[in-house]
């Protein structure tokens, strides 16, 4: 009986010691993490001039233009921007939601702008019977617009023909 009590006490003592050392080591780890010196060299990036380990308060999300008339282009070969919301529009191997209105077949009924004939051409200029795979992912060039102030000041003026 007495032997058992001693053994039990030993086990309790050992486990207490172990957990205490674990706690101590965890604390030192935390201290080390805090004292890691970060320095962005005073460079302002897209996330602002903040240290890596501080979380910048994000800006308010911009509201995308839901639906309006086509937005005029600023230069001759500019891909027209999207004047409507495209939330959850799928463009992938299985489906292309854009083409369900903008394809040549569907455009007359939907009243949407037809995709340009250039989208049927290969890199070498050969015209294909359908949209060229290199032009399939519409959002690579055409993007929806938000009602936001430009991030950078811009003095660009459209050419005379587009004014």
């Amino acid at each position: 009986m007495r032997k058992q009590t001693i053994a039990a006490l030993c086990i309790i003592g050992a486990s207490a010691l172990l957990s205490a050392t674990a706690l101590v080591s965890a604390e030192t780890d935390a201290q080390q993490a805090e004292t890691v010196v970060t320095n962005n060299g005073g460079i302002t990036s897209l996330r602002g001039n903040v240290e890596l380990n501080t979380q910048q308060q994000p800006e308010e999300l911009k509201k995308v233009i839901t639906d309006r008339d086509p937005i005029s282009r600023q230069y001759v070969h500019q891909p027209p921007v999207i004047p409507h919301s495209i939330r959850h529009y799928e463009v992938d191997l299985n489906a292309n939601k854009c083409l369900s209105c903008h394809s040549w077949k569907n455009a007359p009924e939907s009243g949407a702008t037809k995709i340009s004939p250039t989208h049927f051409e290969t890199r070498e200029g050969m015209t294909l019977s359908d949209v060229s795979p290199r032009r399939y992912f519409c959002l690579q060039c055409h993007v929806p617009q938000a009602d936001a102030k430009p991030l950078v000041k811009n003095n660009f003026k459209p050419v005379d023909a587009l004014k």
């Binding site: 839901t66 409507h84 959850h88 799928e90 489906a95 083409l99 569907n106």
Partner: protein
């Protein structure tokens, strides 16, 4: 053996046929409360198989897909769960759909779509079936919430007005004809009307 069974059955039959000595009130009481408990239990069971948790216990990958759509999360928190669109709300239609769904248990046991590969292979078939169902009942599950009679065109975008005030209004098209894949990813859409 057979004789014994027959004897037992005829005994039960006799018992069921002969009037009981219990009071009519007691029998009515039993029937009444038995009815409440049976109907309540049945309804609870039906409701339990209509919850998001129940659906996602097998259809987890699809439930994952709805999370980025407006029917899962939006500004006002009014939302639709699986059964709102996939189980008719009308009682008789609901029972019919529930019985049909028992076939899905067989598919589950056979592992028809138990890997992502098998699921993607079969996805178009499954989607076709669901689109056909919604086309047939004039997109009733959409209309349970989105009532055409109360749509304010002046509040809709010009693209929406163009379609809703013409094809939808005169019954040429129903919701599902255009609004495919609004809560899920789409299957291979080759040959689907209106897609490219």
């Amino acid at each position: 053996m057979f004789k014994k069974l027959m004897a037992w059955l005829s005994h039960i039959w006799l018992l069921m046929r002969s009037p009981s000595s219990a009071s009519l009130g007691f029998i009515l009481f039993l029937g009444f409360f038995g009815g409440i408990i049976f109907w309540g239990g049945f309804n609870t069971g039906m409701e339990a198989t209509n919850t998001e948790a129940f659906c996602s216990s097998c259809h987890a990958p699809i439930v994952e897909e709805i999370k980025e759509t407006i029917h899962y999360s939006n500004r006002s928190g009014v939302r639709a769960i699986c059964s709102d669109c996939h189980v008719p709300h009308n009682w008789t239609d609901k029972m019919i759909r529930k019985v049909q769904a028992s076939k899905e248990l067989v598919a589950f046991a056979m592992g028809t779509i138990d890997t992502p590969e098998k699921f993607y292979q079969r996805r178009r078939h499954l989607a076709d079936r669901e689109w056909a169902r919604m086309k047939k009942n004039n997109s009733q599950e959409c209309r349970n919430c989105h009532e055409f009679a109360f749509m304010d065109f002046s509040e809709q975008g010009q693209r929406s007005v163009k379609m809703h005030s013409t094809a939808l209004a005169n019954g040429d098209k129903t919701c599902i004809d255009c609004h495919k894949g609004i809560a899920h990813k789409l299957p291979d859409m080759t040959g689907v009307e209106g897609w490219h």
